[in-house]
Each structure stands twice: as C-alpha cells, then as structure tokens.
C-alpha cells in the first residue's frame, strides 16, 4: 500500500501522519505517543489533503470543543469540527493543541485565512466518515487514529 508520509522519523511513537488510499477518496491517519498527539497528527493529515501544511502561518487561534460517546466517534467529530471551521472561516490550520479527558476534547487549532495563490488548495473536504475508522494502541504502545474523509 502506497502512502504519503509526513517528513518525520518513521518510529512508531514519533508523532507523524500519513494518507492511505481509498478508491474514491482518501484516508487520514495520525500516529503519536499519546491519544492527543495521534488526533493532532490526523488533523494535520486532513490539512495535507487540502494543501501543504508547511506553508501555513499560525496567526489565528480557533477554540474547538467536542464530546462523543466513544473515542472513534470523537475522532470523527474532531475532524468534522475542523472541516466546519475551515469552511465557515475560510481558513486552513497547521497546528493543533489538544486535551482529551475521557471522551471530551478541548483544542486550539492555529492557522490563517486561506489564500488561493499561496496555499494552492487542491480539494475541499466534505466530511469525515466512519469508513476505516479506528482509534487504538499498537503493540509498541503508539496511538493510531484514522478514518476516510470524503473529498
């Protein structure tokens, strides 16, 4: 399976993200030593579906809160909250600081208003889906958070 991997050391515990293929769309996957890191990396993978995260300036913070009955649903809600904020604020985000307490999530997403010439956005994400949705710890103890997003 081919995958686009973020420029980081491929150790399981190192925070990083990747895309995995889905026939019509795209999967986003985040790795981290903590659940928060994995969620933040999945969010970066979401951004990378749209444009290069490296080109985003962190000028504007946006507060995000979600609550869900389980971790998987929390991931979908988190990504959908970002999709919503990106759509209504016309922004892209490049940094995410999260705190997850049980199934409640508080986060600050940082980014800037989208500039078409500079960010060159390729696609808009319509929503995060329950397809290939998994949030788990692997044998090395690393957290993995993933799902397919509809583009």
């Amino acid at each position: 399976m081919s995958a686009e991997i973020s420029p980081a050391k491929p150790s399981r515990n190192t925070p990083r993200w990747e895309h995995f293929p889905h026939e019509a769309d795209m999967g986003v996957r985040g790795y981290g030593a903590t659940l928060e890191e994995a969620f933040a990396q999945a969010a970066l993978a979401l951004t990378a579906a749209i444009c290069d995260p490296a080109g985003i300036r962190m000028t504007t913070p946006v507060e995000i809160r979600c609550e869900a009955p389980d971790r998987e649903t929390l991931l979908v809600d988190w990504l959908n909250a970002l999709v919503y904020e990106m759509a209504v604020r016309r922004m892209v985000f490049g940094r995410f600081d999260l705190c997850i307490d049980g199934t409640a999530l508080r986060a600050t997403a940082r980014g800037e208003p989208i500039e078409r010439e500079r960010h060159r956005p390729a696609v808009e994400v319509k929503g995060a889906t329950y397809t290939e949705l998994k949030v788990f710890r692997d044998e090395s103890g690393a957290w993995i958070a993933q799902c397919v997003v509809d583009v």
């Binding site: 081919s2 995958a3 686009e4 895309h19 293929p21 889905h22 026939e23 019509a24 769309d25 795209m26 749209i50 649903t73 979908v76 809600d77 959908n80 999709v83 919503y84 759509a87 209504v88 016309r90 989208i114 500039e115 078409r116 960010h119 060159r120 956005p121 390729a122 696609v123 808009e124 319509k126 929503g127 995060a128 889906t129 329950y130 397809t131 949705l133 397919v148 509809d150 583009v151």
Partner: protein
C-alpha cells in the same frame, strides 16, 4: 470481484442470493470486464444494504459501482415504510443532490471554436470555483429558508433564469416536502457564502460538442444534432448538503441503536422512515435537494451572462437537470402491485422511461434525458430512460465513470501542468485554480465511461443517445 461468488443472469446481470441476514438479493449490472475490475467491497457493501429493514425488490449496483461509505457508490435500494423500512443518510451521501445539468447553446462548433479560449477564461473568472471561492450572493436567515423551500423556483424568482427553465428540471425545480427548520444552523452557516459556487473535486463546468449520435430519432426529440455545442454543469448542494450528511450520519447512529436496527457497518446508519429522526432527515435532505437545484440555476445564470457578452447569439436553454445522490418517494411495481417506496440512489441517476407521469410532456414519448458525466477531458454521454428500467432497477441508471485509481496514486502518476498541456494539445482548454486538483482528476484515474454507458444501454437501464466531447473545462 470474484465471479465465483455471483450467479450470472445474463451477459450484463449478476446476482448474489440472499444469505444469512440478507432480506433481499443483490443484482449488479455490468459486463464481465467491468465486474472483474469492480472492488470486492461493492459486493460486501451491497450485501450489507440488503440486510436493512424494509428493503424491497433487490439492492442494485450500477455498471459504474465502486467502494463507497456504507452504500456502494452506484447503489440503488428502495424501502417500504409499511414494512418498517428505513431511510439512510449514508444511502444518499454527503453531496446531496449532486447532479448534472446540460444546456443547449444553439451554436455549432465552428462558431464557438475561435472564441474557445476567451470563453474558458471568462467562465473561469465568472463562476466561483475551487476551495476558498465565494459566491456573490449572501442570504439572510429568511432568504436561506426560502431558498431551501423553493429550490430553482426560488432562484428564478430572484431573477436567475426564466420560468421556462423549471419544466426541464426534475421535480420541476422544487422538491416538495422540504423542511428548512430541520436543517441545522451549522449547515446554513456553511452555505452562506457558497450559493452559485461550483466546488472542487470532480465538479466541473464544461463546454462540449455533440460528437456522435447513436439514436437519431431520440436525439432529434432531445434537440441534439452532431456539431451542436452544449454546456454541462456538474455540482451539488455544497457545504449545506455536506453538513446535513455529517449531522444525520451521527444522529442516525444513535437512532439505529434506539430502534434495535443491527448495523453491519456504522456508515449504514439509518432510522425508520416513520420515526422523528427519519422524518427530519427527509425534510432536511429535501431542503438540500432544493439547495442543489438553486445552485445549478444560479451557475446557469452566470454562464448565460458570459455567453451574452462573448457569443450573444447563444441561447442557453435547458436540456435537462438530473440529480444522482437522493432519496425520493416514488411509485414502483413491488410484487405485482404499485406501491410508494423510498428509493435511495447513491451515485445513480433516475431514468424514467417513456410515458412516466412525472416527466414533462416533451419527454413523454422517448423517456427522460439521463446525463452521464465523464471525467475531465473525456467524453460524456446522454442517454434516455427506457421502458425496461422500471423492472430492472426502479428506473435507475449509472451516473459517471467512477474512479479507477485513488487521488493519491493519480497525483503521483501525473503532474497537473502535464495533464493540462496534454489536453490543450487535443484542443481541450482546462482552467483550474489547482495543479494538484487537476492531477487528481486526470482522465486516466477514471474508468472507461464508454464501457459503463454501453453496459447500461445493453442491459436496458437506459438507451444511448449521444456522445458529447469536451472543448473547454472549468475545474474546481
């Protein structure tokens, strides 16, 4: 797909018997090459749909079927409210009422060719396209609700187009039963700056030439002749539809548990038609259909402005406007008697045959135009609803080519500039804000749409009428 797991019914039809918890069989329409290339997930997902309560007939998969969320894309399934039937947000998808509208221009290729480049530039400058684009229109709360209740009819009242346009739109331009109050404030907020925008991904506006005619008599009644230039718009209900999909996918997870519906896949989230959530979804989904119809109507108006400036002889009247992500209440023959059922079409086009009472008079003799979008730079096809479609698939046909390659793989295989240059060398002008977006939509990333429409024609889902080839493409 492994052919050993299917029963071959004919050259173009394959059946999966109902086993285990399946309440109906699955029938897939495709030729052998298409079915061999089809993902196993299509079989799995269609079989899962066949397990949902109240399904009638069979779960059908069209020749362009591919792996979707819960339902396969290219899936058709009907549910009976009297048998505890369900409605599923996943069975409609995120891009509610995504569809295709084709406009005549009244011009021939040689009249448009000299101005093709200017036309592409002007359309690109006028129709908001791609991520981060905004429409000219801002709706306040009251106007938003009026739009959601009124659809293209509302748009015409606002001065976008002519009342005569409405006759050539499914539901005559306004989906009845819409409930703007069932649409979340978030969904409305997402739509505020998006009226009259094309979007991104596989959405486009194309100037096309009628390049082949397969059924001369039908083509003539559709008003199509070889060399005619037409304009085709492919887009949907934008942010509003996406948010309604997101909202109800979540609410229906809870509802399914509450009503004791076992979900083989979370994405199949559904609720009984006769439940508060089910009724609310139907009201919101119909409002999103109206949003899509209004959106295509506004884009039509923008295209007319461009043509009036550059090619004032053109008259952009509608051939037809079809939607391919919907759930609609329709009367069909179920076990020998006519019954009203809830037909989900996800990536499938309604294809009413001749004499269907819901068709405008102009199409009663020949069946409705079934507009099948190709991928960027490849041909699109116009088919006509056939009398056989009713018994085969609740009068449904395919909707497009379907991807053969993931976006990621496509972006690694081609460069956007290379794709644009190659198409330009073939006389096709592409305008897009994103090179990567163009690469991901490269013609080679899609299945051969010709094989898809030929299979639909041979099995009788719809009849091939004409091929249209791109001259200029505005791509999100």
């Amino acid at each position: 797909m492994d052919l050993n797991r299917l029963t071959r019914l004919s050259e173009y039809a394959w059946r999966i018997e109902p086993v285990d918890a399946m309440r109906a069989p699955v029938i897939i329409y495709a030729d052998e090459a298409l079915i061999r290339a089809m993902d196993e997930k299509v079989r799995e997902q269609a079989a899962n749909v066949a397990r949902l309560p109240g399904i009638v007939g069979a779960c059908y998969a069209m020749p362009d079927a591919h792996w979707g969320y819960g339902f396969p894309i290219g899936g058709v399934a009907a549910f009976d409210a009297e048998r505890d039937g369900v409605v599923s947000a996943g069975g409609v998808g995120f891009d509610i009422s995504c569809g295709v509208r084709t406009l005549y221009t009244g011009l021939k290729r040689d009249e448009v060719d000299p101005l093709k480049r200017e036309l592409a530039d002007a359309l690109y400058a006028t129709v908001p396209v791609g991520v981060g684009s905004r429409g000219r229109i801002r709706l306040d709360h009251r106007q938003m609700d009026e739009m959601l209740a009124g659809g293209a009819e509302w748009a015409v009242r606002q001065g976008y187009g002519h009342p005569r346009d409405l006759e050539r739109i499914e539901e005559r331009g306004r989906m009845a039963g819409a409930k703007p109050e069932a649409v979340s404030p978030q969904a409305k907020e997402r739509q505020r700056a998006e009226m009259g925008t094309l979007g991104s991904g596989n959405h486009y506006l194309e100037v096309q030439e009628v390049s082949e005619i397969y059924a001369p008599a039908v083509a003539e009644s559709f008003g199509l002749a070889r060399g005619d230039v037409v304009v085709t718009i492919h887009c949907g209900s934008r942010g509003l539809g996406h948010q309604i999909g997101t909202d109800f996918l979540k609410r229906m997870q809870t509802a399914a548990t509450q009503y004791g519906i076992a979900l083989p896949d979370r994405e199949l989230a559904c609720a009984p038609i006769e439940s508060p959530v089910g009724r609310e979804y139907l009201g919101a989904m119909r409002a999103a259909i109206n949003c899509a119809l209004a959106n295509r109507q506004i884009i039509t108006h923008l295209a007319r402005e461009v043509f009036a400036e550059l090619l004032p002889k053109a008259r952009l009247d509608l051939l037809y406007d079809v939607s391919h992500n919907t759930c609609k209440v329709e009367e069909h023959l179920i076990e020998g008697r006519k019954k009203r059922v809830y037909v989900h079409r996800k990536g499938a086009t309604r294809a009413f045959g001749p004499d269907h009472p819901e068709l405008p008079d102009v199409f009663r003799g020949v069946g409705q135009p079934v507009l099948i979008g190709g991928s960027m730079g490849t041909a699109s096809y116009i088919l006509a609803g056939s009398p056989a479609g009713e018994a085969l698939s609740f009068a449904s046909a395919c909707h497009g080519a379907g991807r053969a390659m993931s976006r990621h793989q496509a972006a690694r295989t081609w460069g956007g500039r290379e794709v644009v240059d190659e198409l330009a060398a073939r006389g096709i002008i592409v305008r897009s804000p994103s090179w990567r977006g163009v690469a991901e939509e490269a013609p080679g990333a899609y299945k051969d749409v010709r094989a898809v429409v030929e299979a639909a024609d041979r099995v009788g889902l719809a009849r091939l009428v004409a091929k249209v080839s791109p001259m200029a493409c505005i791509k999100g």
